[in-house]
Structures are given as C-alpha cells and as structure tokens.
Symmetry: none
Subunit: 167 residues, 2 copies
DNA sequence: TTCCCTATTTATAATTC
DNA sequence: TGAATTATAAATAGGGA
C-alpha cells in the first residue's frame, strides 16, 4: 500500500516478502489490539510465519489457549453454521464489488449518454419538440423523433460546420 | 483513523462503537487475508464480538481448528492447506473485479451502448440497431439526468459553451 | 439503522542513507 | 543488510441521506 498498488498474490521476491511480512505482521497485531481495545472484542490469533518455528500469538499464549478452547467447545450445530463465515465474507465482498462495478459502469454510461444526448439536443434542435412529460418516457420520445432527428442529421452532414440553430 | 485521530480507549458511544467494530472487523479480516496471501503465512483467528454469540473465524473453522491443534501439541506436523486452492480461485475473481473497477472508473471509457447510441444519432443507423433494452436504459439515463440536460440547454440558449467530447 | 461519501489518519512499498 | 524516510495506497471517523 504505498508507492505502488499491492498485487494480491504471493510476493515473489523473497527478501521483499520478508520485509513486507515484518511490516504487515506488526500492522496486523496493532489492528487486532485496536479492535480489542476500542470495541471490546475478544480476539485470539495464532500466526505461523515462515521465518520461525514458534508461532506468534495475540494477545498472548494463555488467552489464545482459552479462547480456542472455548471455540472448540462450540456445539456442533453452531460450529457448522460458523463454517461458512469466511466464505460469506468473501462472497459479500465479491457481491459488493460486482455491484460497484455495475454502478460505475452505469455512471459512466450516464455521463456519456448525457453528453451525447445534449449534443443531439443542442445541435439538432430536438428540444423544440420535447416537453418534460415526453422526456419522462424518452423511449417514446426517441421513437417519435428518431426519424426526424435522422433526417436533420443527414441534412446536417452535408454542411458539416453549422453547429447550432437556436429555436 | 480519519476525520479525527483515534483515541486508544474503549469507544464510549455504543452505536459509534458498533459502526467502528464492523468496519474494523472487516479491515482486520482483510489484513489477515493479505498477510496470508502475500507472505505465505498461516493465520488462525477467533473473534468473539459483542453482537453475536458465535465467533468469527479466519480463515475458516477447519483451519482454525487445525492450527489450534498444532499450536496445542507443539509438533510441527505439516497440515495440508486443502482450502487454499478454492480460496485462491475466489480471490482471483475478486482481483479481476477490482481491476475492472479501477479501469472503468479511471478511464471513463465509452461503452458499447454509448457507441451504438452515438452511431444512431450521428450516423445513419437508425432504429434498426436499437433493441428494446437499450431504449429502456436510455429512458433511465435521461430521467436521471434530466435536470443536468436542462441546465446545459438553458445555459447554451443564452450564449455559448460547447462541452461535447465526441469520440 | 445502514449505506455512502470525504477528509484525514494510518499503513506500508519503494527508496535513501 | 537494515534502519529511517518518503510518497502512495488503504483504512476509517464523522457526517449526510
């Protein structure tokens, strides 16, 4: 997250990976601590890194052990419900991204369309024929005016230079 | 970390705390995931939040259990990461979506429909090229931008100021 | 409430020392 | 190497709909 956007994949360069690992480990522990402190959450984490046999733990070995024991004793039913937590999270993220994508594409489309429509209105004087209620159902309007617009445009094409004809 | 510097203490306001909790939980899971993926680290987390009886787990229930067993029993037995493949597949999809999103947002490129519309208005291909869904989309587009179009048109009527950016 | 949007603060990749 | 610095990317607190 800096200088360059991070690529979501294993960092190939081993030394870079190690540097990144150290920074991110530290960052993750800090974030865990903040979540715990600011929001009164019980967090237990075990991290097996590639540079050490012993795992890192958060907040410490004893708490992790206790929390994990509690976790282990979850009734089977609840556990199975819990099984999908991660997947759900992931799926939600995907869903959100897809929605964003749709939205943005739509926005772009809107912008482009607005410009194009404006161009058409401005240059071809379609506006004269359009009132708000017509605009409310542009589909009809377009159908109604398309031929006319087309004709106007054909004419216009001959003298490509005339820009606007005020009403 | 925004608007105001975070105070390292329990957030008193319960609703603010909950909002913060949700954001930070999400953030922590993401960071965990990044550490795991970018640096090839085994992370296992159990989170008992105040708004739910069952804990959140990262990356999932099974891995947490395995990691816990390893943690508890010390020996360095190699646990195969059977879910990695699927997760990576999922993450690739996410990555792809993110890339698409970036691309679309930044380049603001003209999409197919816009091109088609442009053709329709600018050139000779009239209604034959337009399918009903395009027209329907157009209707929405205009509805959404009616005000803007009007403003532009009114402004244009007074004086001048072409804003078109035709392809 | 929940989502969405910025203004800021943080985290951190690349770079320098 | 590695610690410190810097320039960006990312996370997120507060506020609005």
């Amino acid at each position: 997250m800096a200088r360059n956007k991070v690529n979501y994949a294993l960092i190939e360069d081993a030394s870079k990976r190690k540097v990144s690992y150290n920074k991110r480990l530290k960052g993750l522990l800090k974030k865990s601590d903040e979540l715990k402190t600011l929001c009164d959450v019980e967090v237990a984490t075990v991290i097996y890194g590639p540079y050490r046999n012993e795992p890192y733990t958060f907040p410490n070995n004893d708490v992790v052990r206790n929390t994990f024991i509690k976790f282990k004793e979850l009734p089977t039913l609840e556990r199975s419900k819990n099984m999908v937590t991660r997947e759900e999270f992931t799926m939600q993220r995907i869903k959100k991204l897809e929605e964003q994508l749709q939205k943005v594409m739509k926005e772009n489309r809107v912008n482009e369309m607005t410009n194009k429509m404006y161009e058409v209105f401005k240059r071809k004087n379609v506006s004269t024929d359009m009132n708000p209620s017509d605009l409310n159902d542009l589909r009809c309007v377009i159908k109604k005016n398309l031929k006319k617009v087309h004709e106007l445009m054909i004419k216009e094409d001959d003298g490509e230079g005339s820009t606007s004809n005020a009403p």
